[in-house]
Assembly symmetry: C2
């Protein structure tokens, strides 16, 4: 079992879905990732919050035993994001983004973080992702996410990041935006040319698919859910379950990557059943194993094809 | 190996996709189904065409050894459909529909068809589907498809059909239209109340998912394709591969239904790689088995989760 360093956002989210409103709740890419990966291994968080960030939100991360040495507390206001989901939940509209303290963030790693073998560059300015990459001493697996804003406005920095990571984890819309290509196989092939990483494309309520430089593919459907309350953080929860499993096993072969994808899928399926990190907070290893067995039953043939 | 009776349309399709135009090509729900199911077993077709229907299109069906005793040749014009696909290929717009000879179709089964154990009610007026149901003498498995038009305009007839079938195979959009519900699990549960059938919801480029009355679920992703040329007929090709496999095995347990779904998925993946039935026409059992093995490799764990 190896530790994971994550850099990303810790935020106030204000979310509106067909099932209700959640104003100023705990959110951010690093938060969801840490709450998910923390189910499998030790997570060391690098992020910044403002003076308005309440101790009860700090406690949520502490309950999961997340190492907060790298969490900077600044005098400004915490980063805020607000968004709204359409009825089908696969379509999201960002209503407002207030960077606040993110604009002064230096992304400096405490010395105790620098030798961490597993690193997740969660969605944040690629400039900050690059700063983190320069401070790493012994990375074994670096995974990276991004978002539409950086693809459009900071593509060069993003491409610099991609030269140095082992795994790139993005949504299908982001893949299309990066390549102007709707076909997922063609899009993946174009993206793989940007570095030597493997690629996981997340398809929201439809699952996820892996493409490697060796042309390996692994595709899984989403776990069929009856109660999707809030998809916010699903991608970071997927990445957290994915990397958490890999770091807990400390193995990186294709078979482990496949199993890690299924773990990520299962953790994400819980995450979207509540607002904020509510479901991740109460999630137990027994619940994960139970839904994982159910997932295998409903996606794998019970007997081979004759 | 048991025969399948299919009732549906045989049509001239005019299709526009980002990859080109195909004017007045061979199409129709019964055509795609027969060309797909005919790869696995004997298909007996019930449909109507007009005096303008060329012998070269008849030959396509004859090459697959489809029984055409039930194909009525009328003096009117053949049914015509035209449609256009958006760039992402999951969104289709119908440009024109000309019923023509379909308006006089009686859907009478030749006596040699009536004892067929496997029956597919392909997309056609539910009134005609009901007429076929009344002529069956020994049905073992009746599967049924429909479309948005009948859901909106002939819902009562459609619901009568659903009381008498064993399997209902529709698209995700149709499921949402039937139930006004976006969540696929909730939507499926509502639809299952309309009869005692099992339900397969087709998700276009995202795969398919089975829901049974016993609350069994089986979900598969689509085969990742690089060259989707024309999705027309994908659903009927899926149904054809699905029922063709079941009729060839003459077994109906969940394990066989799972395998049939994968066969349907594979046959549909070939179908969309060309216009009209071009790819189905040249498809061989060896190609099917090869892609099927590839599909299992990219969707099934190579070793169990410890």
């Amino acid at each position: 079992m190896k530790p994971i360093v994550v850099i990303g956002t810790v935020a106030f989210d204000s979310v509106k879905t067909p099932f209700g409103n959640a104003p100023e709740v705990l959110g951010g890419s690093a938060t969801f990732f840490a709450m998910a990966a923390g189910l499998f291994t030790k997570v060391k968080l690098v992020a910044i919050v403002g003076k308005d960030f309440p101790s009860r939100y700090i406690q949520v991360l502490e309950e999961r035993e997340v190492d907060l040495e790298g969490l900077v507390r600044s005098n400004g206001d915490t980063f805020r994001w607000s968004g709204e989901y359409e009825d089908n939940m696969n379509v999201r509209h960002t209503l407002d983004t207030q960077l606040n303290v993110l604009e002064e963030f230096k992304a400096e790693l405490p010395s105790s973080y620098r030798k961490a073998p597993y690193v997740f560059l969660a969605n944040i300015n690629p400039d900050l992702q690059l700063k983190v990459l320069k401070q790493l001493e012994k990375p074994k697996l670096i995974c990276c996410d991004t978002m539409n804003l950086w693809i459009v406005n900071q593509r060069k920095d993003l491409e610099k990041v991609l030269k140095k990571v082992h795994m790139f984890i993005i949504s299908e819309e982001e893949a299309q935006m990066l390549t102007q290509e709707h076909n997922i196989v063609k899009s993946a092939r174009e993206i793989l040319k940007l570095g030597s990483f493997s690629l996981i494309i997340k398809r929201g309520g439809y699952g996820a698919i892996l493409f490697t430089q060796k042309k390996e593919i692994f595709a899984i459907p989403a776990f069929p859910l009856e109660n999707v309350v809030d998809p916010t953080g699903a991608g970071d929860s997927f990445a957290g379950g994915f990397m958490g499993y890999l770091a807990s096993q400390d193995r990186l072969g294709l078979g482990y990557v496949q199993k890690a994808m299924i773990h990520g899928n299962i953790v994400a399926s819980f995450s979207v059943e509540g607002f904020s990190v509510d479901k991740l907070r109460s999630l137990t290893p027994i619940q994960i194993r139970s839904r994982l067995r159910e997932f295998l039953r409903i996606t794998h043939l019970s007997s081979p094809i004759a």
